[in-house]
């Protein structure tokens, strides 16, 4: 089958708003206007063609500069401990506990900086699809700080996703298989020929490449043997292949036999007919919000195989297809918490709040970055929303709009950490920018301006009518003070419609 492409000369505001939300994190009215004037081909090419760092003027997160030194210091201290243990076991254990606590504090701070660094990129990046793909891959190849601990490793993994997010899938899978954070997260760093640890091998087939039901337990065991010795250098935290831990014997994996290493496992697994289907179906769900039909998966899989697993043609195919812009697809995807948060700031043209506030909000909404709930990542879709997270979204929107720090932010029954010094929160609504005098001419212009800014769409007639009814009860928009505007914005954010992209 063939997938029809859109034929519009230019995107126009509704399609541009849709594309920017799905392939990125939305945009301000000015940004949407600029993209609306582009032809679909050039818009999509611009999104998909993000480079390998050429347009990267963000620089690395701060902790990286100091962390090499502090890592080395900790390594030295831990080495001393090993000597001390021979002399005085009890003293050594006490010192170890102290050292562990110290290191955890340093790591905790590093992770906080890393989260802020990534959110900053999502908010300001000129290659939004690069950050969106990085977020997709973070959920796909999930690794969590709770187990990995090292912010440096998680940074490296995040950069791998950013570098290869529009690259070659086989390279990406191999990159992940020798990624220190992943080797720690799925216990492969210690896997050895005597007792291969199956954890990574299982998830490689089940979650990363093929999906449940397309391999046998024997295949997993063979893959686990092939990955023995894929480990980490203790001092530097870099990947190392340890020959003495590796099982060099012959393995039979998915019908082929040989003295396989990890790269052979990936090569063979990707030959399975499910491999392209698994990836294309998952990408479709992420960007489109619904399950792809068999025919759509067939087509996209062929695009991917024809391109020898290069991702750019596949991404372009999705973003240029008529199906992607279908009426049923638009405004039909439930925003992830990260999307909800970043898009709110982008559409308000507001800066990021204190990182503790940002992270506190994302924790409560169910998507703390670098801390997915398990190796399957976040379920996404309807799983983002339950009665509790929906109310949280409404209330956090109110907090951001009014610049009032919500009570209990960052604290939940399972997380009692509270702030030492309370961060300040400023309202994200700058009245001059959000509703300039030109948009206050009459109520209809207020409705149009706020819908375009918040929803990136004019929605249905009934949605507009409900808001117009409200505006009719209010004073003339020309006379609105800051609070009146905040109220209106909060009400528009406290709706089912706002949760959709």
């Amino acid at each position: 089958m063939h997938m029809k492409r859109i034929t519009d000369a230019v995107l126009g505001p509704e399609k541009a708003g849709h594309l920017l939300q799905r392939a990125g994190f939305g945009g301000s009215p000015d940004e949407v206007r600029a993209w609306a004037a582009k032809s679909p081909d050039s818009a999509v090419a611009e999104l998909v063609e993000f480079g390998s760092g050429s347009n990267d003027d963000f620089g690395p997160p701060v902790f990286l500069e100091t962390s090499a030194e502090s890592d080395a210091n900790f390594a030295k201290e831990f080495a001393k401990l090993r000597e001390l243990r021979r002399e005085d076991q009890a003293a050594a254990e006490q010192a170890q506990r102290r050292l562990n606590a110290q290191r955890r504090r340093v790591q905790y701070q590093g992770i906080g900086e890393l989260r802020a660094w990534w959110l900053y990129r999502m908010r300001y990046s000129e290659t939004p699809l690069q950050e969106k793909m990085t977020l997709f891959l973070h959920g796909h190849f999930a690794s969590a700080t709770q187990k990995v601990r090292s912010p440096r490793m998680l940074y490296q993994q995040n950069q791998l996703f950013r570098r290869l997010g529009n690259g070659n899938w086989e390279d990406l899978v191999n990159g992940v298989a020798s990624d220190p954070a992943m080797l720690l997260y799925l216990d492969n760093a210690r896997s050895n020929r005597r007792k291969p640890n199956e954890n990574f091998a299982r998830e490689l087939l089940e979650l990363f490449t093929l999906g449940e039901g397309n391999y046998t337990e024997e295949d997993i065991f063979a893959a686990a043997r092939a990955y023995t010795g894929y480990s980490i250098e203790r001092e530097t935290g870099e990947f190392v292949f340890r020959n003495f831990m590796h099982d060099p014997g012959r393995k039979t994996f998915m019908g082929e036999t040989g003295a396989f290493k990890g790269e052979d496992i990936v090569r063979i697994a990707l030959k399975h007919e499910q491999a392209p289907r698994f990836l294309t179906a998952k990408l479709w769900r992420f960007f489109v919000g619904s399950d792809a039909s068999e025919a759509q998966v067939d087509h996209l899989s062929r695009v991917l195989l024809d391109a020898k697993w290069e991702l750019k043609p596949l991404l372009s195919e999705i973003f240029l297809s008529e199906d992607f812009y279908d009426e049923k697809v638009r405004r039909g995807l439930i925003k992830s918490p990260t999307q909800w948060f970043v898009q709110l700031l982008k559409s308000m043209e507001a800066p990021l709040p204190d990182p503790r506030i940002s992270n506190g909000i994302l924790i409560q909404l169910g998507q703390e970055l670098f801390n997915p709930p398990n190796v399957k990542g976040w379920d996404g879709g309807a799983a983002w929303i339950n009665s509790s997270t929906l109310l949280n979204r409404y209330n956090f929107a109110g907090a951001l709009v009014r610049g009032k720090l919500p009570q209990n932010l960052g604290r939940s029954p399972t997380n009692r950490r509270s702030y030492n010094n309370r961060p300040n929160l400023r309202s994200v609504v700058d009245p001059e920018r959000v509703l300039p005098p030109a948009d206050r001419k009459d109520r209809a212009s207020v409705q149009r301006a706020l819908f375009a800014r918040l929803y990136q769409s004019q929605l249905r007639a009934t949605d507009r009518a409900k808001f117009m009814e409200y505006l009719d009860t209010q004073k003339d928009p020309a006379d609105w003070n800051e609070r009146d505007l905040q109220e209106a914005v909060h009400l528009l954010l406290s709706s089912p419609q706002y949760q959709l992209a």
Binding site: S191, K195, N197, I334, S388, L390, F467, S494, P496
Partner: protein, 428 residues
């Protein structure tokens, strides 16, 4: 104890949508309407049985929980990790509890703990996600079911109920709650479980908020809450429905928690707080039939010795506190707790000081009406009897579910499980 009258979805629809503007936090409405509603509320709510389901997420190592301290196969397979004979809390001349599960030992001594040996299913799956899905949907190993077993209970046996007929104290709604007609509420922090945007009073802001969040175009006025949700339900419909449920439930829960401060003592852990909250909701007379909670951290692939004791210290002491709370409330007999995990772990320990994903393991039931002691038969640990190094199951987990339906909730389990599974003799 007289429980406070509760706001129901039906009331919201009739008084709220049909009757015009009604604020969430409108005291006048609460004052005048709540009293009238008291009569309409099911008077027998406080006598209805309640089921609490708890998942030990990650795959609990059953062999180091209920330790076969007389079994040589166990000690041969677990040269580093085995719980020593002298270390376990002996239950009989074969089995003992992990020494950190002191709360469970107390429940056992009180005759409130039942241990079901070897619970699992044929053709076990070692993936967390798939096996969790199998447990949550009560499917066969090779079968994909969309709805959860508790969701099918809601669909079949709770028609017209309020959304709070099921409450999950978790961040995400468990798959077990998934239903054709989604119902049940999920939250992990009650203090955040209400809308903070509006001031009291009859204002245009409330009008707009309610117009946006009253269930939208969903037509559910005529039939109470019995609307049919097709699988192709749109994201917007889903959100509108959730928005309505959130409003009604937050009102109910807020009312109950404000009125209920049980003096019960719980440990200070996150898991204990989940149970304490459930204890308060039960004491407050919520119409909830099924509660759900979860404790993670059981995926002990590496260095299990460092974490396992703490997990069981937490789980067992929290459940002991919960049981004592219920008894002090006079609700000890009403509530049955079922504790499960998606799979047990490999009999043989691995080289990383941990254990890998396995198959069958023990499940636990707790309550004042259960028959305490061991149920079912312990699978053999002899290497020749293992399946891929895992324990073979001796009790199908759906027999446990059938028992919960037939004997705890008193409903037909066949409608929930699709076919007849033998009930266990866990009661009377």
């Amino acid at each position: 104890m007289k429980h406070p009258s509760l706001f129901t979805r039906r009331d919201f629809l009739h008084t709220g949508v049909l009757g015009g503007s009604v604020a969430l936090t409108l005291p006048a409405f609460v004052g005048s309407t709540m009293q009238q509603l008291a009569a309409a509320e099911g008077a027998d709510d406080k006598d209805q049985p309640i089921l609490l389901v708890i998942q030990l997420a990650g795959g609990n190592d059953g062999l180091n929980t209920v330790v076969p301290w007389e079994n040589d196969h166990y000690y041969r397979a677990r040269t580093r990790l085995a719980v020593k004979k002298g270390d376990c809390l002996k239950l009989d001349d074969e089995f003992g509890l992990n020494k950190n599960a002191r709360g469970f030992k107390q429940l056992w001594d009180d005759g409130k703990l039942g241990v079901i040996h070897g619970v699992g299913y044929p053709n076990p799956n070692r993936s967390h996600f798939r096996s969790t899905e199998i447990w949550h949907t009560a499917s066969d190993s090779k079968q994909q079911l969309a709805q959860g077993w508790i969701g099918r209970y809601f669909d079949n046996h709770c028609k017209g109920s309020d959304p709070s007929v099921g409450i999950s104290i978790t961040k995400q709604t468990p798959q077990a709650f998934r239903a054709l007609n989604p119902i049940g509420v999920t939250f992990d922090d009650p203090s955040r479980f209400r809308f903070e945007g509006l001031e009291d009073g009859d204002t245009p802001e409330e009008e707009l908020f309610l117009a946006n969040n009253d269930g939208g175009s969903i037509n559910m006025l005529e039939s109470g809450s019995q609307m049919k949700l097709e699988p192709g339900m749109s994201a917007l419909d889903f959100l509108e429905r959730t928005a309505l449920d959130a409003q009604v439930s937050s009102e109910q829960i807020d009312t109950v928690l404000k009125a209920q401060k049980t003096g019960a003592k719980y440990p200070g852990t996150g898991f204990a707080r989940q149970l304490q909250l459930i204890g308060q909701l039960i004491a407050g007379g919520m119409g909830t039939r099924v509660y759900y909670a979860s404790r993670g951290g059981f995926d002990t692939h590496a260095n299990q010795a460092a974490s396992f004791g703490g997990l069981w210290q937490d789980v067992s002491s929290a459940l002991l506190a919960f049981q004592r709370d219920l008894e002090a409330q006079g609700n000890g007999k009403r509530v049955t707790t079922l504790v499960f995990t998606e799979f047990g772990r490999r009999v043989k320990e691995n080289a990383s000081g941990g254990t890998d994903h396995g198959a069958a393991g023990p499940a636990f039931v707790i309550g004042s009406s259960i028959k305490p002691g061991f149920h079912g038969t312990m699978p053999s640990l002899a290497p020749a009897d293992l399946f891929r190094g895992d324990l073979e199951h001796s009790t199908d987990f759906r027999s446990v579910y059938a028992t919960m339906m037939d004997q705890v909730l008193g409903v037909d389990s066949v409608a929930v499980l699709g076919r007849k599974f033998e009930s266990l003799k866990l009661f009377g």
